[in-house]
Structure formats: C-alpha cells, structure tokens
Symmetry: C2
Subunit: 436 residues, 2 copies
Amino acid sequence: MSPPLKIGICGLGTVGSGTFNLLHENADLLKARAGVSLDVVHVGARRDNPACDLSGAQVSRDIFAVAADPEVAVVVELIGGTTVARELVEAAIRAGKHVVTANKALIAEHGNALFALAVEHSVQLRYEAAIAGGIPIVKALREGLSGNRIEWLAGIINGTTNFILTEMRDKGRDFADVLAEAQALGYAEADPTFDVEGVDAAHKLVILASLAFGMPLKFESVYTEGITRLQPQDVAYAEELGYVIKHLGIARQTNQGVELRVHPTLIPRQRLLANVDGVRNAVLIEGNAVGPTLYCGAGAGDRPTASAVLADLVDLGRATGSADPSQLPALGVASGNLQDLPVLAMEDVESPWYLRMEARDKPGVMSGLTSLFSEQGISIEALIQKAPLEGQTLVSVIVVTNQARQGSVKDAVRAIEGLDSIDGDVTCIRVEQLDG
Amino acid sequence: MSPPLKIGICGLGTVGSGTFNLLHENADLLKARAGVSLDVVHVGARRDNPACDLSGAQVSRDIFAVAADPEVAVVVELIGGTTVARELVEAAIRAGKHVVTANKALIAEHGNALFALAVEHSVQLRYEAAIAGGIPIVKALREGLSGNRIEWLAGIINGTTNFILTEMRDKGRDFADVLAEAQALGYAEADPTFDVEGVDAAHKLVILASLAFGMPLKFESVYTEGITRLQPQDVAYAEELGYVIKHLGIARQTNQGVELRVHPTLIPRQRLLANVDGVRNAVLIEGNAVGPTLYCGAGAGDRPTASAVLADLVDLGRATGSADPSQLPALGVASGNLQDLPVLAMEDVESPWYLRMEARDKPGVMSGLTSLFSEQGISIEALIQKAPLEGQTLVSVIVVTNQARQGSVKDAVRAIEGLDSIDGDVTCIRVEQLDG
Ligand SMILES: NC(=O)c1ccc[n+]([C@@H]2O[C@H](COP(=O)([O-])OP(=O)(O)OC[C@H]3O[C@@H](n4cnc5c(N)ncnc54)[C@H](OP(=O)(O)O)[C@@H]3O)[C@@H](O)[C@H]2O)c1
Ligand SMILES: NC(=O)c1ccc[n+]([C@@H]2O[C@H](COP(=O)([O-])OP(=O)(O)OC[C@H]3O[C@@H](n4cnc5c(N)ncnc54)[C@H](OP(=O)(O)O)[C@@H]3O)[C@@H](O)[C@H]2O)c1
C-alpha cells in the first residue's frame, strides 16, 4: 500500500470537528476505499475543541503553520469567510498542497482566481461540501451527468429557509415567529441574514450553474430575493391552488443567456421537490440525455458536511501519484475552455406568476384587471376572488398567469397598483412547473 | 489537447444507438469536459440501425473484430446477456482495452471474475449504466459517499414493476391487466419474467450491496420475490393503513450478516420513495456520516442509459494517461480488500409484516389469532377486521406486526393457516419504515 495521505485541518468548529472525528471513526474503511491511509498530521485551531481528541496530531494556534508544513499534502479549510480563509487557501496552493473546503462564500466570490492558481501550481481545489452538505451534487454534475447538456436546475439549497417555509405552511405561522424558533433550535445562525435573504443560496447556486453550464463563476450576476417578506396568507393561497412555496435557486440555459436567480417559488404540490421538507436540501437537474434527476439529503450539520469533505479526501487519496489537475477540472471543463455565457437580465426572464392584490369589492374591478393583463400580452391561468371577510370592504384577488416576461408582468403590476380599486402593493411570486 | 479517446461500440440496439447518437449530439461538450475528443472509430453490429448514421466509423458484423482492433482503446458492450457478452468483455480486457457496459446480468453474475481480469490487465471495467439507468448511483456509492459506513439501502430499481404497481394503486387494476398494457407501451419486454419476478432487480441490488459494503458479488445469495402474486385488495388495504406497496431491493448490514433481498414492501406514504411513481427509479441510502440521501430519475430508456455510459467514457477520457486501475477499484475497494461478509438467512431477517387472512366471522376468532402471535413473541401494531361483504361469511382480517424475525412470523402463519376459522393461505408482505 502507498504511503498515507497526510492531511492538515484548519478550523475545529462544527464541520472541522465533525471531519476530524469521522476521519478516526471511519479510518479503516477510508483506508480500504482510498487505497491509502488518511492521516491527520496537523491541526490549526485557535483553541481546542473538547469534542476532539487531538493527541497524535501536531496542533498549531496559527493556521498558516499548517499551510507551511512540508509534511502536509492536503489542507482542509474549515474556518469560513472570505478574508483569512482566502489567504490560507492561497498560501496552501502556493506551497503545492491540495485544498479541500466547505466554504461556499469563498468559492462563489473568489473561485475563478483560486481555481486558476490551483492549476498553475498543479494541485486540486475541491469543494464538494460547499453545496448541499452531504449530497454528492458536485460529483453528480461534474462527473455523473458529464454526458449531458444541462438545460436547467432548481434546488432547495438552504436548510434554514426550507425549515421556516415548512413550518409556515404546516402550522400557518408567521415568518418572524418561526425564525425565532429556528434560532433557538440552532438551525439558524444568530445573524440569519445570509440565510433568509438568500445570499447563502446565491453562493451555492452560482457554483452549481458554473458546473452545469461550464462557465466562470458570476456571483455578482445572481438575482437574489429572500423569504423575509413572505406572508402566511400567500402560503395558504398557494396551497389552495395546488402549489407549495419553496425558496429555490434556479439556473437555466436559454438562447438569450443564462438565468441565475434565487427567490421564493410556487411549485406544483405533486413534484418530489415540493415534498422535501424541514432542513433537508434537494437539487433537481434536467439533462438533455437523462431528463430530470433529483438528489436529496441533509444540506448541513457536522457529520453530513464532513461526509462530503471525506469524499474529496478519498478522491485525492485514490489519485495519489496522478495529481495532474488538468484531469479533473474544478468546474468540469478546463479553465481555458469555460464559456463566458451572458446572464439574462431579470426583466427578460419568463415564468408564470402568482399575484395577490387587495381590491375594493365593487363592479368592474375584475374586468379592469383583466384588461390590464391583456394589454401586456399576459394570459391568465387562474383568477380567484376570495369572499370579503366579515366587516371588511377589501377582498383578496389572486391571479396566476401563464408564462410571461418579468418586464411585462412588472408593467402590468404598476398599472394595477395605480387603479383606484386596488389598495396597496401587489404581492408578486414566481411560479415554476419544473416539469422537464 | 491530448489525442482522442478511441471508442468501439458493440451492439446497436436501444442503448447502443442512444449512446452512438449522443456521442455525436453532445460531441463538443463531451470534448470540453473529458479534455479529449470521444471518437467512435469502430461499431460492431450484426445489422445497421436506421436511427444511426454510421458513416465515419468502421463497421464490423463480427463484434469480436472491435475487441481485437488495435486502434480501439475502450470497448462499449451493449449487446446484453451473459454468454457472448462475457466472451466479448473478456476478449476486450485481454486485449488491454477498457470496457464500459450497461449489462447488470453480466456484472452481477460474473463481475468478480471480470473485475479481477481487468485488474490483471491494468484496465477499467465500468458499469454506471447497469443500475438505475441515468442516475449516477454507482458514482454516488463508490465516490460521493466514500466517507460513510453504509448502514442500508433500499431502491426502486426496476421501472417496469414500479409502473405496474403505480397503475394497480391509482386505478385499482389487476396485475395481469396492467402488465399487458405495459407490454403494449413498450415498458415491459415481450418476456417480462426477469422484471416481474424480480431477477433484474436482484442483479442490480447485488451490485449496489457490493459497492456499499465492500464485499464480493453474491448474486446466488439474493432472496428474490416478484410482484406477480400481488392482489389489488392488498394494495388498497395498504393505502388505508397509510402505506404504499413498492417493489424494493434492500441491502442492510447487521451484526449477524448482510441482508440481500428483493420483494414487495409496504412503506409509509409520506416517504419520498413512496412518491416515486411510474417507470422512475430511486435509491435511498443510509450512511453513518451523511444520514439518508435519495437519488431519483429515469431508470431505463435509450438516452438516460446512454447518459450513464457517457459518464463512464468521460471519466476514462479525463484519466487518459493514468490508467492504473488500482486508483479507482471497480467496487470501491481494491479486490484484495473486499470483505467476504456472510449473508443473513431470510428466516433471521427482521422487519414488521403485513398479513391478510380470510376468517369465518364467528366469536373467538380474534383472540385465537392474537394468542398465536404472542406465542411466537410477535407483537401487533395494528389489527383490522373488515366488515363482511353482503352475503359473504368470510371477512378479511389484516394484521400489521412490529419488528419480528421472519422465522417466527412464518411459524405463526403456519399455525394460523391450520385454524378451522381461517380459510386458505395467509398473504404475507414485508413492511419497512425506512426512517434512517
Ligand atoms: N455548519 C454547517 O452545517 C456547514 C455546512 C456546509 C458548509 N459549511 C461551511 O463550513 C465552513 C465552516 O463552518 P462551521 O459551521 O464549521 O463554522 P464554525 O463552527 O463557526 O467553525 C469555524 C472554525 O474556524 C475557526 N476560525 C475562524 N476564523 C479563524 C481564524 N482567523 N483563525 C483561526 N481559526 C479561525 C473558529 O475558531 P474559533 O472557535 O476560535 O473562533 C472555528 O473553530 C464555513 O465555510 C461554512 O460555510 C458549514
Ligand atoms: N434498454 C434499457 O433501457 C436498458 C437500461 C439499462 C441497461 N440496459 C442494458 O443494456 C444492454 C443492452 O440493452 P438494449 O435494451 O439496448 O438491448 P437491445 O435493444 O436488445 O439491443 C441489443 C443489441 O445487441 C445486439 N446483439 C445481441 N446479441 C448479439 C450478438 N451475439 N452478436 C452481435 N450483436 C448482438 C443486437 O443485435 P440484433 O438487433 O442483430 O439482435 C442489438 O443490436 C443490456 O445489457 C441491458 O440489460 C438496458
């Protein structure tokens, strides 16, 4: 058997400690599968973690000592963020070490430069754990579906928002109320902005899109909308209409450009994706050969995320001695062959829409509405007027449109909001049929 | 760019023609991803297929000419069966060629010898297409989940039986009736025995189990039960109880041995797997790090199956120049390290059971039944006595047990069948909670 793969782990938080401990717990089978022993020889952590028995490994309080250690062959970056982590990854690559990371922010925002640096130094930069936790979705796109032109993909790629939406639907609760509980349960961070505003999902989406379409990472081009403004009544009306609201990352190849968008979305209840509840993640991918395939599992947590880190380490162990990175390009195609596809402007993105407006219950309202839609060339799939509540003069009117350009929908909405018979703003949520 | 990967395709039937045509349709992206051009230089087919334009490739009526062609680097075996296909694969390996196949029967029944031969000749024998069509499930188990001890897996791995069961449930139809339609629609073969008796699923299950547990293929040890005897009333009663009947392949690691079994199974309706309908396939895998992950998609068809063949070809293209097969062992661990795990006898397998019996509606029947169960140490989860139909003296009694040894259940069933108050045989179907 070949000499061990010598690993340095930086960061001993949730994922770092999970990885460290699983490397020991599953040591025998990892060795059998990798063909070499996976040995942690150096840990970089500002302080010990009581969950980890560090005897046997060298421990440095300065994580850069790990990147500089001549014995270390792979640096596992699990500190997070885009500042120190970036410096660490660059230092490790320059020192000729492979890097494994779970850091989606780092890859989404600085991946292009980091992948190029890795090629320059003939090392691999692996990031299976950065998207959808333990689901091997990077491998599925980069290798398992490599025979396909990927048409589109849609994913539940943030467990916190999916947990909140599931609770809102099942119990009719408010966003703020459920968020507070999610924080208490430890599903949501103390500062949940990245999750509920969709930034975390946008980080993951852009990586998925680059893998799927063979294009450079364009994080700045992702349209990002969170779930903070979602009302319980829309969740309930969606359900009445046969839909479930999910917070999706969607990427699609069209003749005009690539769609990159993260937003709440109504999807038909009978889709498997609509039934992925709680903190689970799932990604649905449409390929021109295979059709739709779905991948579902735990999108976060110490052990699921560590599972993905270990998969990258086993791959590196198996490839020991053939470390030419040109053989497995980070984004599936060699960086020189990535295509700089244009990103479609959101106003040109087409989808059906769910619109809710509060109307004064008087004659002519409906015909006024429908003529505004037809002026924009938008056809209506369903129009529902709810009965006014006791003592109320306003009634909710819900419109589901057919496929329509966002620009036209927004024009129609502006005109509707100008009507005397309409009170306040129109609530607008995209719909996707996801029917491959 | 390196020189092309030169491919020989043997067999131009459903999968062969799909593979040939997709290699052309997706040629540019395959080249970008593989880093080399994937060129079909030789086709072996007894006759032309009007769906394929063979100009540009050499065509031989004798498939063995492809295996002998010094120009060919990879032989793609798509003729099926375990006789000529076996000779062809052996000839190709002995000639120093990599082999890609979709042939589950061949791998399940002769894989141990073929993988050893491939190692001996330093070539790869790849078979992603052999299981679950286009779902990259081999890659998920062998690489994506390599950090996990796999506890169990359960899969819908035969599209024909899943289509039949879906129709039986949705429309209350008979097995024979739906089978005839599936044959007319082309979902089922003219001779559907391999599908409906579970042999095809057993072929796939044993490969999944070997990948999951790192053990040699033991096709002869798989317990195999088809769906031919399933009654519409059991499908309906299962539904009343909150279950769906699926034909599953199940593999599980226990302290006593490995379970390898294919049979109809009641699973809770709310599981995603219970909602995988029609010809789709899905595999649920429980790993000790990641927990449960699910993989779903098209399990058959020309293009989905070709998608998996192409993935193997792209992998081979990417690895050009590093063809040492020890780096990616066929079953995930090097053959010398496979563990010869014992297979658990079916009588020792534990699961809950669904039992239906026809009882004469008279006093004391129920207490007689329940005492027979408790004599065998079997506890009862639910017991339902249906109202007798107009003019009938027999009533259906349905029992769902808790976890019980199959041996004890069968003993109890024999005793029940001996009771005067019971008419005919007891219908016995296993239940799985699949709750990881
Ligand atoms: N948690 C998940 O479920 C999950 C899932 C997928 C991906 N990820 C990604 O995995 C990475 C790690 O996440 P995590 O949840 O494990 O975070 P965490 O629990 O906060 O752990 C981060 C660790 O990094 C250390 N660290 C941070 N900055 C450092 C610095 N400048 N120098 C030295 N050590 C430093 C921290 O040390 P101190 O304790 O001393 O501050 C801590 O041990 C992030 O990129 C995250 O996005 C996490
Ligand atoms: N169809 C699917 O959806 C699917 C899915 C997964 C895996 N697979 C597997 O893929 C393989 C191929 O299946 P398929 O559906 O493509 O079968 P198919 O349509 O029956 O095609 C088989 C092809 O092999 C040729 N062939 C058979 N025996 C031959 C021989 N002795 N010499 C030369 N040519 C021979 C046949 O030629 P003739 O036409 O001259 O007889 C035909 O072109 C099988 O192992 C199957 O289990 C199929």
